[in-house]
Amino acid sequence: MTDLPDPAAERSFGDLLGDCVHCGFCLPTCPTHVLWGQEADSPRGRIHLMAQAHEDVLTEAAVGHFDNCLGCLACVTSCPSGVAYDALIERTRVRVEEEHRRPAPERALRGAVFALFPHRRRLRLLRGPLRAYRASGASSLVRRSGLLDRLSPALAAMERIAPPAAARPAEVPGLVPAAGRRRARVGMLLGCVQDAFFPDVNTATARVLALEGCEVVVPRDQGCCGALSGHAGRGAEAAGFLEDLIGVFERAGVDRIVVNSAGCGSGMRHAGRVLAGAGADEALVRRGRAFAAKVVDLTEFLVDLGPVAERHPLPLHAVYQDACHLSHGQGVTRQPRALLAGIPELTVSELPDREVCCGSAGVYNLFNPVPARELGDRKAAGAASTGARLLVSGNPGCSLQIASALERAGTPMAVAHTARVLDASLRGLPAESLLNG
């Protein structure tokens, strides 16, 4: 997957547009086309709108349809002509942010989201007040601000799903030694949402890596990877985050950077493109490409490495959900399934419509709550139809989104990151440990 240099980075926007032959193969897996059955809300239609904007001005209507795109990249997977929709929508979003003046409330919401999410310390600090918000249902303090009205339910949902802050596991140490003979030395990304709300996933990741013979380097000074900003057209912001992170991992002196959050990994793999797009100098773009080549998803890394640690049985029926930025963004579908299949007594079902996004899509569910909710409901119905007791996913956003939808539908199901399932199996924990959060 790490095709470097990124060919889409070298080509002009018009040239990339020309790759689309209008065959329509992208329509059935596009979540917004599934919802609304309208051409302008399909990848093919958006590419047409991009071409219109490329020749002409950016219209209000077009901006709405670009904003509606979840950036799930299912269309990239289904496109037989190899259209780089990922690069196209990324560049389009940068243009939208540069040229389009959003209404004040929307600007405020976006400002708030990007002042908060890419900062894991700020996210962590928020957890106390969020618990209070949850407890009070609709606290008058929070309700007074329309902005918080939009933000709080989503954050509160995270708070609800995440393990209680009080039970926060000890920080992952800066260096985790390999158990037994050292087979590899890797860096590890903590992630912002992952670290603030799912620290147990990071702990599990480090432990699994160590048990498989890896020495894990976890630089304490790492910040955001910039993926969230990059996906939202905030190119300069994304490049700034990336530059810092590249420096951090260069100093760490690791050959591989293991990532357990699909959205982050997908963004980091295109570091060169993001930096080039933001006008970074050539030396930095080169460093970005070298950095991107080291990025690997946890499951991909573990499958390549091969198992040594003993797998203990997990007598459980689970359903695996492909995070879009893992399957469509990084082409990683086989590896997580292979790892789960390696756990004795664990049965794994597939979701119907597994290519279609659950509606989480980074911060999409904050900006477009209505379609996000509908897509979540569809995914929840699919998950419930499998009869599984546990939903396994490789991305924190998906887990949150589907868990809340399942709860809404009255069919609650436990959710766990692939790393936690592996961790439980490697440590011989009972299956129930995954079902109780």
Partner: protein, 494 residues
């Protein structure tokens, strides 16, 4: 975007308030940028911006919209998934484009009567998916089956790789709810396999929207075969592959599909989906056999032997679904995959009697060499349905015209050899002017009489399917300005 760039024609604008009442505000698209995304279907060198786009959700809404058009003489054009390859859904600039993309309900799967009832916007593959739990599937399978709509299949009488054994859409549709061009919702046929009287379903299927719009389709379902085996045979020449096809048919074996791809088509498919076909193949044959296990077993042996005798240097046998889909992936993605090896291309569709295949393929090769225009060949070899892909660079001046010329010459070849202008992509706007090459004036007049009986005002997908003197003689798709003959005073337009 200034609306002035594509203003809504006055006659259409007058309908908009009523259209909004019928379809809801959300179901009527009037602004220029949203209308422009509908300007083309799967054949992009024909483009027209529709006057207005409507997205109905029920048959009653379709009937009301068509009735409104009939009352005011405004033309309407039906559109399914917009994947057609003959411009059948090319919008009318002064008309209503009626897209069925929101009519996507599977109304019923009735395994006892071996049929399913679906709305026109349901994709072809979704019918098979819905029938699968009962051990059934929907047999006609165009290569675009995961996206193309059943309504579009009805309009075009679509087939696919497996129509060699299982036939086209027309062989599987038992009932249709149809809105006629005067806005009347009527029912043809039903769940029973046959009904007495003139075969109106047969007449409607393949009428390309000129007789109305299907709002509900009852399709027959086919039992999933006990066993399916796919063979991939590689040859060092197209002639050898063609010989194998004839030998298989002559031996009395009826495969569900026999597909052939030439070296250029293989190259494109490899680039797109890394299908890993045997290296060095100048032609591959994909032969699929299905039926009772014992029968399939003996047929696999027979076909393998015949291919080897015809000169196959490698034959692979795929029996599980994964391996089979890997073989098919290259073939099914071939059209769109050509985008990887050429900036632009024309997908041609013609039919020749199977025995004429080698001769016609050789002539196509000559045409390609003479013109310097590359032609990739992908085709349903079993029934002689050719799909030459004519490759060109639209950035190169004159290349488009030369490609058009080659593409047209290929069709002439097909007709000369006793074949047909189209096997399954339909006539649409793309081949309407070529119909006189295949039909006499009397034939065409009869078609026209029939069409006029149902659509006396000529508002149902005008200028498609049958040649119109006003358009034929001009370059299709480029219809701006005054006709040169009018300008020179040699002709008048009424």
């Amino acid at each position: 975007m200034p609306e002035t760039a594509h203003p809504i024609p006055a006659a259409v604008a007058a309908l908009v308030p009523r259209l909004r009442e019928i379809c809801g505000g959300d179901g009527v698209l009037t602004d220029a940028s949203r209308r422009r995304v509908y300007d083309t279907d799967g054949i992009t060198h024909h483009r027209e911006v529709p006057g207005v786009v409507v997205l109905p959700t029920t048959a009653a809404q379709v009937a009301a919209v068509v009735g409104l058009c009939a009352g005011s003489g405004v033309p309407f054009v039906p559109r399914g998934a917009g994947t057609g390859l003959s411009g059948g859904a090319l919008p009318h600039p002064e008309g209503v484009l009626l897209a069925t993309s929101r009519m996507r309900r599977i109304v019923e799967v009735d395994p006892d009567n071996e049929c399913a009832v679906v709305e026109p916007g349901v994709t072809n593959l979704d019918v098979s998916r819905a029938a699968a739990p009962y051990g059934y599937y929907y047999a006609p399978d165009p290569s675009s089956q995961q996206v193309c709509s059943v309504g579009g299949n009805v309009a075009e009488n679509s087939g696919g790789a497996h129509c060699l054994k299982y036939g086209f859409t027309v062989n599987h549709v038992r009932g249709l709810d149809v809105v006629t061009p005067d806005g009347v919702l009527t029912r043809l046929g039903g769940k029973a396999p046959d009904s007495p009287g003139h075969d109106l379903i047969g007449a409607f299927i393949g009428s390309e929207g000129t007789l109305g719009i299907a709002t509900r389709v009852t399709v027959g379902l086919t039992r999933l075969p006990e066993r399916t085996v796919t063979l991939l045979s590689a040859f060092t020449s197209m002639d050898a592959g063609g010989r194998a096809v004839s030998d298989v048919i002559a031996a009395g074996v009826l495969p569900s599909a026999i597909e052939m791809m030439d070296a250029l088509a293989i190259e494109a498919a490899e680039a797109a989906v890394a299908c890993d076909y045997p290296a060095g193949a100048a032609a591959v044959l994909i032969v699929e056999l299905d039926g009772p296990a014992a029968e399939v077993r003996s047929q696999v042996a027979e076909v393998t032997r015949l291919c080897a005798a015809a000169g196959a240097f490698e034959t692979r046998t795929a029996a599980d679904a994964d391996e089979r889909s890997r073989i098919w992936k290259g073939r099914k993605s071939a059209f769109a995959a050509v985008g990887r090896i050429s900036p632009s291309y024309i997908v041609q569709d013609g039919v020749v009697p199977r025995t004429a295949l080698p001769e016609v393929l050789r002539r196509i090769d000559e045409l390609s060499r003479e013109s310097g225009i590359r032609v990739a060949n992908v085709f349903h070899a079993g029934d002689g349905n050719l799909h030459p892909l004519v490759l060109f660079d639209d950035g190169e001046p004159g290349a488009g015209e030369r490609a058009e010329a080659v593409s047209g010459a290929i069709l002439d070849l097909c007709v000369e050899h006793g074949g047909s202008l189209t096997g399954e992509h339909g006539v649409g706007v793309d081949k309407a002017c070529k119909m006189p090459r295949m039909y006499s004036p009397d034939d065409l007049a009869t078609f026209d009489l029939f069409r006029g009986a149902l659509d006396p005002r000529g508002i149902a997908n005008p200028y498609k399917l049958l040649p119109t003197p006003r358009l034929c003689g001009e370059v299709p798709g480029v219809r701006t300005g005054v006709h040169p003959l009018v300008e020179s005073g040699e002709a008048e337009q009424f």
